[in-house]
């Protein structure tokens, strides 16, 4: 009975459970802090389990759709609607299912970590309310098949993120970072809203599949496309719209920063979803493909070169995150640039897209781990300044091992997960344009170089007098970091299993625009 209900309503439950959990959190927290902890952990655990269940349904039965308010959950086009899918539809295909599972796993690890890392802080009921809202928003962003509904989730994510960035006041600097983040996010959201208005005004539809079927790529469709690309590139922190990223990432609590990475990746997912699924072959795919490639190369090079001189550990990791976003844009950009050429698409385009998608998943895990390890160091010694650190390898051995795993993964060193996705990108991009592949390789070397500096500054050297009493991070923090570290190793050792199970179906779901349309519009 309950199992049937969960299976039938899984697409909405992954969004509704964290949403309801968020609004009940302040109420439950009034009972006791232990109740609050149990409630928050319970909500993310149930959300994660349903996300995994939903992914298994998608992988065995194909795309799952959920229509709000319909007599049956798959009645996408009501009989009396004039052939238009007027209701809000959640669409979970392989790509969105993969994103949901990764986001849920990271959300779970981060909440577990946060139970220790943030326990001394005040106003935790508001903190966890915003945290659960953030999880709800990213789940909604990757699930919804409706443009305006996506805008709503985008706004929820911006508001929750800004509130969380400002949580640790830090003499006002965190509030300044939050205001910057909120203004940039709001302008990006206005761009997106303009695009929705343009498309709705022209086609009388907000459903992505309906729009995909009707789009003619007129002059104003092109303007809408650019507004969407700009809005989501800004949200994911691509260069030169990246300036907010180091400000927000360096001043937010580490657990929040790890979730902000997930928000960025949800925006990146949406960018690919709109470009491939909504516009598809109607757009000037070579031009837009090269736009994504250019943004990717700029992000890779400027991100990594700005990381090297940084002395704030979280700011440095933030710049490295920007650099890694570039790899995803590069892989997907190459896929888009050859979308209209079936020979090139099957020869290397689809591999480049698989590399880009695989890197999104990997990046969410290792970047999250790096922020969590940095957070546990800051938690113990109270500074983010690399110049003031040193010798912590003597006292924080497990944190050091987790950090090393994260570093080797982000630098693309085998056998960790970052290597597998980067290898797919290098080899496929080389066939498209060797210069781009060489740039990607050099950026990886610079990434490793910058993290050698970080690793040396934090962990190497003699045990310093001022850190003589420093102990290892608390157990819940270690477990949170450990889950992500294990995922990195597992994904690194079984890359083909991940590619076959998650990545390749996700890439096919993006390329196969007709398949998406036929599920929603009933093959019309």
């Amino acid at each position: 009975m309950i199992t049937d209900f969960v299976i039938k309503n899984a697409p909405i439950l992954v969004v509704a459970i964290p949403l309801i959990g968020a609004f009940l959190c302040p109420l439950v927290a009034r009972i006791s802090p232990m109740w609050r902890k149990t409630w928050v952990l319970g909500v993310v655990t149930v959300t994660s389990l349903i996300a995994i269940l939903l992914a298994s349904i998608v992988l065995t039965q194909g795309t799952v759709i959920y229509v709000f308010g319909a007599s049956t959950s798959n009645l996408t086009v009501p009989i009396d609607s004039g052939g238009i899918p007027i209701r809000i539809i959640f669409t979970v295909d392989a790509m969105s299912a993969a994103m949901e599972v990764i986001m849920a796993m990271i959300g779970f690890s981060v909440i577990l970590y946060s139970m220790s890392a943030d326990q001394e802080r005040s106003s935790l009921e508001q903190y966890y309310t915003l945290f659960l809202l953030l999880i709800c928003s990213v789940m909604g962003m990757v699930t919804t098949g409706d443009l305006f509904n996506f805008f709503v989730f985008l706004e929820i994510s911006s508001m929750a993120s800004a509130g969380l960035v400002a949580y640790r006041v830090e003499k006002g600097r965190a509030i300044e970072a939050a205001i910057k983040y909120f203004i940039v996010s709001t302008i990006a959201a206005i761009f997106f809203l303009f695009a929705i208005a343009i498309l709705y005004g022209q086609y009388n539809a907000l459903n992505i599949a309906m729009l995909a079927q009707r789009l003619q790529f007129t002059l104003i469709d092109k303007i809408a496309l650019i507004l969407i690309v700009m809005a989501l590139s800004t949200k994911c922190g691509a260069v030169p719209m990246h300036f907010w990223t180091p400000d927000a990432y360096s001043l937010a609590p580490s657990s929040v920063t790890a979730m902000l990475v997930v928000v960025s990746l949800a925006s990146l997912y949406a960018l690919f979803r709109f470009v491939f699924t909504m516009y598809g072959l109607t757009l000037s795919y070579v031009t837009i493909g090269w736009v994504l490639i250019t943004l990717g190369v700029l992000s890779m090079v400027i991100g990594v070169t700005m990381a090297i001189p940084q002395k704030d550990v979280q700011r440095l990791i933030a710049y490295q995150g920007i650099s890694q976003i570039g790899y995803m844009l590069l892989g997907m950009g190459v896929g888009l640039a050859v979308l209209g050429n079936p020979a090139q698409l099957s020869s290397f385009g689809i591999i480049a897209m698989e590399g880009g998608i695989f890197h999104i998943i990997n990046h969410a895990i290792y970047e999250g781990l790096l922020f969590l390890t940095a957070g546990s160091i800051i938690y113990r010694i109270g500074t983010r300044d690399l110049d003031k650190m040193g010798g912590l390898g003597h006292s924080m051995k497990y944190t050091m091992i987790f950090f090393m795993i994260g570093v080797l993964a982000i630098a693309g060193v085998p056998p960790f997960n970052g290597f597998a996705s980067k290898l797919l990108i290098y080899e496929s991009v080389y066939l498209f344009n060797p210069v781009l592949a060489i740039i990607a390789l050099v950026v990886s070397i610079l990434t490793l170089a910058s993290f050698v500096k970080v690793f040396h500054s934090i962990f190497m050297g003699p045990r310093l007098l001022e850190y003589a009493g420093v102990r290892e991070a608390p157990l819940p923090m270690l477990i949170g970091m450990g889950i992500l570290a294990v995922l990195i190793v597992v994904f690194g050792f079984f890359p083909q299993v991940v590619v076959n199970t998650i990545v390749a179906p996700a890439a096919q779901a993006l390329v196969n625009q007709g398949g998406y349309l036929s599920v929603i519009l009933g093959g019309r």
Partner: protein, 113 residues
């Protein structure tokens, strides 16, 4: 039995080879470690560094901090960094200006053809 081999379209990668290499390297490290000085004792005079008879400086004094690393790299790319770092002003209006400029460039690139 799960498949370890990743096919990249133009080649393949198998992490097992790397795993075996790491195990071999660890064994070699252990052999070298095990053949070291047997009389080593922690916390004794043995572990104190010998700096030509000079007294040992404070630990903080010998720690190479992050600011001292890669100065050669930074120095050789000083022109690049002299132009790049000032662009990161921290001023919100500058952030938005970049956003609007890129939007304008993309509109020209996509709309005009």
């Amino acid at each position: 039995m799960p498949d370890f081999t990743l096919f990249t379209g133009s080649g393949f990668w198998n992490p097992i080879f790397w795993f075996v290499s790491i195990i071999v390297a660890l064994i070699l490290i252990y052999i070298i470690y095990a053949s070291g000085e047997k009389g080593y004792k922690r916390g004794t005079e043995q572990v104190k560094p010998f700096i030509s008879g000079n007294p040992e400086p404070a630990k903080r004094g010998v720690q190479i901090s992050a600011g001292n690393l890669y100065w050669g790299y930074m120095d050789s790319l000083r022109v690049y960094y002299r132009n790049l770092i000032p662009l990161h002003t921290g001023i919100i209006t500058d952030y938005l200006l970049w956003m609007f400029c890129v939007t304008a460039i993309l509109l020209i690139l996509v709309v005009i053809p």
